[in-house]
């Protein structure tokens, strides 16, 4: 269970990006966070594993308070949170297998990392997951030879290799074409239920969010102003979440209701 309470993030002296935000995620729920650009979605996700340092508040994952950990403890704790990125963040010049195994870097010895002699159990697990998402035959290929959808699958497998307790996905489909992006969304939904893994997704595309999520969280100006089942998200709620967003951008977001 991930329990975020009174989370605040302020860059410099300006208005806080996150304002005393509370959010609890548990079970194998797939939660989508929507909101216009600048609403604080990405900052929220990055405050959870402290890629962005929160200003105040608490982040508790299954009994571990993240905000007070020192550097070393934080490194150990981060292994328990998997993360998937908008631009995949793969290491282009390494093979798919090395990219996937980099998810285990927090566990294996430096020597094993240097010589690429990964533990047998990790290799078995990697093949299993790659088989599951359909990229096992690419194991020896360089990551930059793959298409966008395949690269994001590598990103997902890398995160799952950590055997995480929760999966964070920051706009995982924003760099993909519509068809591929639906494949990735349904993959994430299926994995959430297969692995009993809570998943939090930042997403721009409201249509996709409604189709694949169990729960939708709407953010505006660093606050949560909507938190319910997807079918409760109707036009008035949408108008509130995206209020003030020019019509052009709304169209991009996807017509709803």
């Amino acid at each position: 269970m991930l329990k975020i309470s009174k989370l605040t993030k302020r860059y410099g002296a300006g208005d806080p990006v996150l304002k005393e935000l509370d959010l609890t995620v548990e079970g194998d729920q797939l939660t989508s966070v929507i909101g216009s650009s600048g609403a604080g979605k990405s900052t929220l996700l990055r405050c959870i594993n402290r890629l962005v340092e929160p200003t105040s508040g608490s982040v508790d994952l299954n009994g571990t308070e993240f905000t007070t950990l020192n550097r070393r403890e934080l490194r150990t704790a981060r292994r328990r949170i998997g993360m998937v990125f908008q631009s995949f963040n793969l290491i282009d010049r390494l093979t798919v297998m090395e990219n996937v195994q980099s998810g285990r870097l927090g566990y294996i010895s430096t020597w094993a990392a240097l010589t690429r002699r990964y533990p047998r159990e990790d290799i078995r697990h990697a093949y299993e997951l790659m088989e599951r998402v359909g990229i096992a035959h690419y194991a020896d290929r360089r990551a930059d030879e793959l298409s966008g959808g395949e690269r994001q699958r590598v990103g997902v497998v890398r995160a799952l290799m950590q055997r995480p307790e929760i999966l964070l996905a920051d706009e995982p489909t924003a760099s993909l074409d519509p068809k591929t992006s639906e494949q990735i969304m349904s993959l994430l939904r299926d994995l959430a239920s297969e692995l009993k893994l809570p998943v939090i997704i930042n997403i721009h595309n409201v249509t996709e969010a409604k189709e694949y999520s169990d729960r939708i969280v709407g953010m505006r100006y660093g606050r949560i102003i909507f938190d319910d089942r997807p079918d409760r998200l109707d036009k008035p709620e949408m108008d509130e979440i995206y209020a003030g967003v020019p019509a052009m951008d709304r169209a991009e977001v996807g017509a709803v209701a």
Partner: protein
Amino acid sequence: MSMARTTWRKPPFIKNPTLRYGLYAAVTIYVVFTLATLPIDWDRVSDGMRRAQRIFNGAFPPNFERSGLLIDGFLESLKIAILATVGGIALSVPLAFMAARNVSIKPVYLLGRGIIIVARSFHPVIVAIIFVKAVGFGPFAGALTLVVYSIGFVAKLLAERIEEIDFGQVEAMRSVGAGFLSTLVYAVVPQIMPRLVGLGIYQLDSNLRASAVVGIVGAGGIGATLANAFGRYDYDFALAITMVIVGVILLSEAVSGFIRKQIA
């Protein structure tokens, strides 16, 4: 999923195993052999350490008393660099046209390329020694050396720029009946001018650096002052000169970088 695989090896960079291990072996043998046959005389080295200490003791603190000599040396280096840059560019432009495949005819092209390769291949110090022997000690030998040095760099890059020009403009000029020279002036020169100015400024900076070195073999400038100081065991003056050289090089690098950024 048929069988769970539990092993994985990174595909090797060189696929053929014979070639791979052969290459490893060759490199190892070369390194071991050359290292083992290095003539290191440890007695000489320990003796040298004392000598190094004496040099450093003699060098500190650096001695700026003869700053007049230092400034004269520098001004001479600067004059050498300026004249060599102007002369080098004046020779580089025709040479670059000779050595550009698209505006030149084959035998002229080969001659131009040949001259550039020769000019590039010899380190300025070697060129300087030859010129010192031919025209005597002093800044003139230094300037000649740096002219050759400038040709090797400026003519090569300028020729490459000429080969990249948009040939449509040349055809346009030819189609209105312009002669060879006016075609060059109107269609080619405007396209290469910015590059030529940039190269000139860069080369002035390079020449200033190089002039400090060619002086060591007698071709004038601050290098000659440095070599004299070293030869007379005036290590404190030598250190002062070296420090000023480093300072001037950094300054000129910054200035030339700034000007080139302004132009580009």
